[in-house]
């Protein structure tokens, strides 16, 4: 449904304000939907069309119930696309629509300018529709159950990607030179000089090196890769339709990855700007109370839960203040007079510029790593909580800055997921797959790991192995396609 004239006027006004503040965005198309359609779009991850799959139905049911019972309500949804599509809920009051619009323009600015989004497909709307068509066609040809089962299998592996890989341009493998000599090169010499010109021990060493080299070249993949999905797409013995579906899942996973990598920043940035635009430009007197009510709902914190909107917006404001007042750099860091620190103001006025820079280059990990300060933690009453196995309760375990930061970074690194990489595609020289879990102190959830391994096997079709640590001991978990086996791992696998 196109916008009513009054909403269109609001959009023009807010777009003007956003531009005046220096936000830079794709054109934004707003659509007004009733709650059922909005829930549909939300269940589809923001898109009007996705391939058929029951999990969208499950999400839909939950949203629908949440709405019916008045538990939750989606206020804003926006997708990273050019043009950017955003949705408004039909029954929202005008003040809400304003907030949403302002929020959306900031999101869109973030999508367009943040470097982590630079590799995403900006025509994803069309791409998703194409994916849907392809999957539907396969369903017509091979049957719904078969396709659906395979999608289930693929979805189980969808997080095995490497979002950083998009930014690394590896040297293209040079055209393989002619098979290099298998034996050590001998220098030409007279027969009697042989032992001196080509000493046997050196030759032996050289020979060994060559052997190792060729051994290494044989290892496959040459280097462990974290883009497990790509490896599977390229090397699994799949039917064409299976390969296509797997690459669809992979492509969509890469599309969504930056959003998971920058949730705190993205929401913080949008919240920062909606509050700026609303409070400085847009609010009428009559709307102030409603606005304050909804805004405080957005940034409310509950004990034991981190609100990305809250953390993000506070951190952006903190950065702005610090760069406005010059509270950074060696001189400030070394100042130990608390009194002086709190009054520190160099009147630099670089805050605005700085936050635009931050929104360009950071993701959540670098955002927290670079800009979370001890003072900020204290002011925002942050803490670390842990599970106490004796009482079965979660308890606050520390308020130390170091631990808070460590914990946060740990949770944000690799989107909070374990590092899993393909270590060997020809394990035991039997075409088995070896995945390695890079252990970082937290064990895998084993029941899930087994089920996932089963799905890996379904794609790889030869036995698959996972090396990880169980109870602090290295273990190798294998699935042959019929049975699970578990063994101690003495030497590092592969």
């Amino acid at each position: 449904m196109s916008l009513s004239p009054s909403l269109a006027a609001l959009q023009r006004a807010i777009e003007g304000h956003a531009r005046a503040y220096g936000l830079d965005f794709f054109p934004v198309v707003f659509e007004v939907l009733d709650y059922r359609k909005l829930n549909q779009v939300a269940a589809y991850g923001g898109f009007p069309t996705r391939y058929p799959h029951w999990r969208f139905g499950m999400d839909f049911e939950q949203l629908q119930k949440g709405y019916t019972f008045g538990l939750q309500r989606i206020y804003e949804m926006v997708i990273n696309n050019d043009p950017c599509y955003a949705y408004l809920l039909e029954c929202n009051a005008d003040v809400d629509q304003k907030v949403v619009m302002a929020h959306v323009y900031a999101h869109c600015d973030f999508f367009k300018n943040n470097v982590w989004f630079s590799k995403t497909n900006r025509k994803m709307m069309d791409e998703m529709a194409n994916h849907a068509t392809r999957v539907r066609r396969y369903m017509d040809r091979y049957g719904v159950d078969k396709i659906e089962n395979f999608i289930d299998t693929c979805l189980s592996l969808e997080n095995l990607i490497d979002p950083h890989s998009l930014f690394i341009v590896r040297e293209r493998p040079k055209a393989e030179k002619e098979e290099s000599p298998r034996t050590a090169r001998r220098l030409k010499s007279k027969e009697y000089m042989q032992d001196y010109i080509n000493p046997p021990d050196v030759l032996a060493l050289e020979e060994k090196r060559i052997l190792e080299e060729s051994e290494r070249r044989k290892s496959f993949p040459a280097e462990p890769t974290r883009d497990v999905l790509k490896f599977l797409v390229e090397y699994s013995p799949l039917e064409n339709w299976q390969r296509d579906i797997l690459s669809i899942i992979r492509e969509e996973a890469y599309y969504f990855a930056p959003q998971a990598q920058s949730k705190i920043m993205n929401e913080g940035w949008a919240t920062y700007w909606h509050s700026k635009i609303m409070t400085e430009r847009c609010l009428t007197d009559a709307e102030v109370v409603d606005y304050a009510d909804h805004h405080s709902g957005t940034v409310a914190t509950h004990a034991g839960r981190l609100n990305p909107y809250k953390l993000g917006v506070e951190l952006f404001r903190d950065i702005e203040e610090r760069w406005d007042k010059g509270r950074f750099g060696k001189e400030f860091d070394e100042c130990e007079d608390l009194h002086e620190r709190t009054r520190w103001d160099k009147k630099l006025g670089q805050g605005r510029e700085k936050i635009f820079e931050v929104r360009r280059f950071c993701n959540d990990v670098t955002f927290i790593d670079n800009y979370l300060t001890e003072e900020f933690c204290r002011r925002n009453k942050m803490f670390v909580y842990e599970f106490n196995s004796k009482t079965g309760l979660y308890q606050i375990s520390s308020r130390s800055f170091r631990e808070i930061k460590l914990k946060l970074l740990f949770q944000l690194t690799n989107r909070g997921l374990p590092f899993i990489e393909v270590a060997d595609g020809n394990y035991r020289n039997k075409g088995e797959l070896l995945l390695r879990h890079r252990y970082e102190g937290v064990p895998l959830r084993m029941d899930y790991a087994r089920d996932t391994l089963r799905n890996v096997q379904r794609v790889w079709q030869r036995p698959v192995n996972l090396s990880t640590l169980v109870d602090e001991k290295p273990r190798l978990i294998s699935y042959t396609g019929e049975t699970f086996e578990e063994a101690d791992l003495h030497e590092p696998a592969a």
Binding site: R36, K37, N39, Q40, A43, T49, P52, H53, W54, R55, F56, G57, M58, F60, E61, E148, L157, K263, T301, H302, A303, G304, R305, L306, N307, P308, K310, L311, K381, M382, F383, V384, Y385, E386, F387, S389, L393, Y394, Q395, I396, S397, S398, R399, K407, L408, Q411, L412, G416, L417, P418, I420, H437, V442, P443, L444, R445, Y448, D451, T452, N455
Partner: protein, 368 residues
């Protein structure tokens, strides 16, 4: 309007049904379903179906939060949502509450326990017709002509063929334009059924035994309700004497005293005689007891009552002997001996909650 997501939603529901069916035996042996039933809906808690991923074990993980409190302050026993900035879009271990109608539940029960459909007796030939308007058809009696739809058709046709004129005399309705309300008639055989539940409430029937009876009768109700339009349920309790009670009392009374089963059968006979004439009613009798009858003489009396009178009046007589802490009685064996292969008598021994589904099979597996 039908949304595209409906298809996925439907698919999801199918999967859920499958899950429920898979676990149906588990649900049967647990009483909790009965507590959560609404009018004709029943909600079943299911763990959310999740797609497995390689993830960290969550319990050890903990997280970062914001708020007041000292080190050691308890935040709560429930899993707080992971504080990794994904709050809101990553559902945790939610329990899914699925709603199923009792009819669907009965359907599943039937499929899972392979129960045959019931062949109702009685007014087989008496049927009632119910008609409902369900749509629009191009033919029909003039009295049912749908004016607006007809007019629309006419406009469509005249616009398409270019004969439309604004000025009167306006466009004319021709035969092809006419639309009529259409209806469908469904034929329902009028079958009515009554269930008589009888239970021994003598001292030896404890809470656990009653729970078993409660659960089993819930499933029996569900199944029979699925087959009959009107279902009447009557409750009789007995120790040395029988009396008719309401449902509440039936499940909660506990009395002491001896057990004279024939008293209950006599009362059942009275009720069927006065209220449920054989020609019109399908009557089902279910009797639960621990089988410790007062005397062998009374057992003889029971057999006589059944054989001579009661069995001729009812579709099915079921006796379920519930194991009690005092052991099981003789009554089941006596009945078995008296009715070795009677079609209308179903006997079952219910040792524990786990054998409820088996007993349901034994009772209802005859399709009567």
């Amino acid at each position: 309007m039908i949304l595209r997501i409906e298809q996925d939603h439907h698919r999801f529901k199918q999967i859920i049904r499958g899950k429920i069916k898979q676990d149906l035996r588990k649900y049967i042996s647990r009483g909790e379903l009965i507590g959560r039933r609404g009018k004709d809906l029943i909600s079943i808690p299911l763990p959310q179906i999740s797609i497995p991923h390689f993830v960290h074990g969550s319990r050890q993980a903990g997280g970062v939060g914001q708020g007041d409190g000292d080190v050691g302050t308890v935040l709560g026993a429930a899993e707080p949502e992971e504080g990794n900035g994904q709050a809101g879009d990553a559902p945790g271990q939610h329990i899914l509450e699925v709603e199923v109608t009792l009819d669907e539940l009965a359907e599943m029960l039937g499929e899972e326990l392979e129960l045959p459909r019931i062949e109702p007796k009685g007014k087989k030939n008496i049927v009632t017709e119910r008609s409902r308007y369900i749509g629009i058809a191009p033919t029909g009696p003039e009295s049912l002509r749908h004016f607006r739809r007809t007019y629309k058709e006419m406009l469509k046709r005249s616009l398409a063929s270019g004969t439309y004129r604004r000025a009167l005399p306006g466009p004319f309705i021709i035969r092809e334009d006419k639309r009529y309300r259409s209806w469908r008639t469904t034929v329902l055989p009028e079958t009515t059924a009554a269930i008589l539940y009888m239970m021994d409430v003598s001292g030896s029937m404890g809470e656990e035994q009653k729970e078993i009876v409660r659960i089993e009768s819930f499933w029996i109700d569900t199944w029979l309700r699925h087959h009959y339009k009107g279902l009447e349920i009557r409750y009789i309790i007995h120790d040395a004497e029988a009396r008719e009670v309401d449902q509440e009392t039936f499940y909660h009374t506990r009395e002491s005293g001896g057990t004279v089963i024939s008293s209950a059968y006599r009362l059942a006979l009275d009720i069927t005689r006065t209220d449920y004439p054989t020609q019109e009613w399908n009557v089902y009798c279910f009797h639960f007891s621990d089988g410790d009858n007062w005397s062998q003489g009374d057992t003889q009396e029971c057999v006589r009552l059944l054989r001579e009178d009661l069995l001729a009046r009812i579709n099915l007589f079921c006796y379920g002997q519930v194991e009690s802490p005092y052991g099981t009685g003789q009554f089941l064996l006596d009945l078995k001996e008296a009715f070795p292969d009677e079609d209308t008598v179903a006997l079952s021994k219910i040792e524990s909650k786990e054998s409820i589904h088996q007993s349901i099979q034994e009772f209802l597996g005859r399709g009567r």
